[in-house]
Symmetry: C2
Amino acid sequence: MAGELAFEAVDLSRTASSSDLIYGALRDAIVSGRLAEGQVLRQDSIARMFNVSRIPVREALGRLEAHGLAASARYKGVVVASMSPDEISEIFEFRAVLEPVVVERAVPRMSAADLARAQRACDAFAAGTDAARWGELNRDFHWSLYSHSGMPYHLSVVRNAMDRVERYVRSQLKLTSGMERARADHQAIMDACARRDAAAAAELTRQHILNAGTTLVAFIDAQKREGDGASEGSAGRGRRAGG
Amino acid sequence: MAGELAFEAVDLSRTASSSDLIYGALRDAIVSGRLAEGQVLRQDSIARMFNVSRIPVREALGRLEAHGLAASARYKGVVVASMSPDEISEIFEFRAVLEPVVVERAVPRMSAADLARAQRACDAFAAGTDAARWGELNRDFHWSLYSHSGMPYHLSVVRNAMDRVERYVRSQLKLTSGMERARADHQAIMDACARRDAAAAAELTRQHILNAGTTLVAFIDAQKREGDGASEGSAGRGRRAGG
DNA sequence: GCTTGCATGATTGGATCCAATATACAATAT
DNA sequence: ATATTGTATATTGGATCCAATCATGCAAGC
């Protein structure tokens, strides 16, 4: 039997197809914010970038849409999904419901090594100097706490919710001083986990997410008002990221 | 302008494509349980059923997979997703977290007419004689309470969670006396909504879902043990739904 | 008897081609 | 001059075709 052999086996039937790779690349680009919201995703140009035909591109775009990261209109095309402040706000409410449940379950399951890893992620975020990576580090930290929950479905849903707002979180972290608050929140959550106080970790997580959400939405509203005011004098300046 | 004309206009850019229709049909068949779990979904045979080529079928299958209703292996094919008791249990835990939040938000937003409609759905479930429709009526009732929450993202996530376990709920409702308990639970939730006690409605919903989950998992475990015992005598009888 | 190697058919993944639709722009009428 | 209509091009949705991979069966060798 192969099960007893001394090498690592991988499930070859799960290897990535072209459309998997394209999906992953587009997904990362959208989540990270490198693709602006509303940006149209032309099948042909993407196909040329990856040196493939449009077929795998279409499958990738379909999956993006299924995950809510893109929106399509028949015969018109697919565009990067955009979210209204209300929608962003709802996502944070949603996360504030789920993520505490996940940490609470994870805390008693974390080993000392797990805690050490989480603390390292926490430190990495706190020490991060590259603003472009704050979003990534922020996510790493939260994920280091959640991943031991033993709740794979919850995690997949949380991951999707995070994906949808990640771009906005990043833009905010770069442009505001929300970092300070985030650093303190993270360490408080981390401490609660370390002293095995699951309920406290959950409540702190809830507060952290709710606060991050309201701060972010306020930031976006302010940005929007500012943008509106500026563009009132010069018509047709609304569009930002062209082709 | 067309906006003032006397006929109903529809957004043609949102009309369904072939793959949309195929996706919907497959989705319904899976959710309702008409397609057995593990059943392989051959592109060719599905394409022939719908009189189309395999292209739209593949897109539909890809979306099924993205929604977790099917699983695929490269070059092997797509199969209807199956869930372990643990996974089913997790989905119910998940629903028990989210759905109370949704009803709680919906209660103060329901008009008298909304409440009447919900009560009708509740009655329809209680009065239902056709076991095959219980699952549907059950879902209608819950949905009649949730749909006024004004939380579209929460609803979409709840809908997906419901979809994944619907088949099992149906099989259980048909074969056990869980109906009685469900009837009572539903009316209790309904009453709490009618007297505008959002917190009670939420808590009752939580209890209802948790109870339904544990009952269902126990039922499945029992079925499984029974099946194992029976098949020990006749090898190779595990497969059920062929062709 | 058991394993190995290979040939064959079935099935999927992807490329290419065609039809349906939308968008941009020129032509026309009022 | 402006609004409407017709036409050309770009783009998507789907059909058909080809290549890569998998599953199965059978023969050969130990």
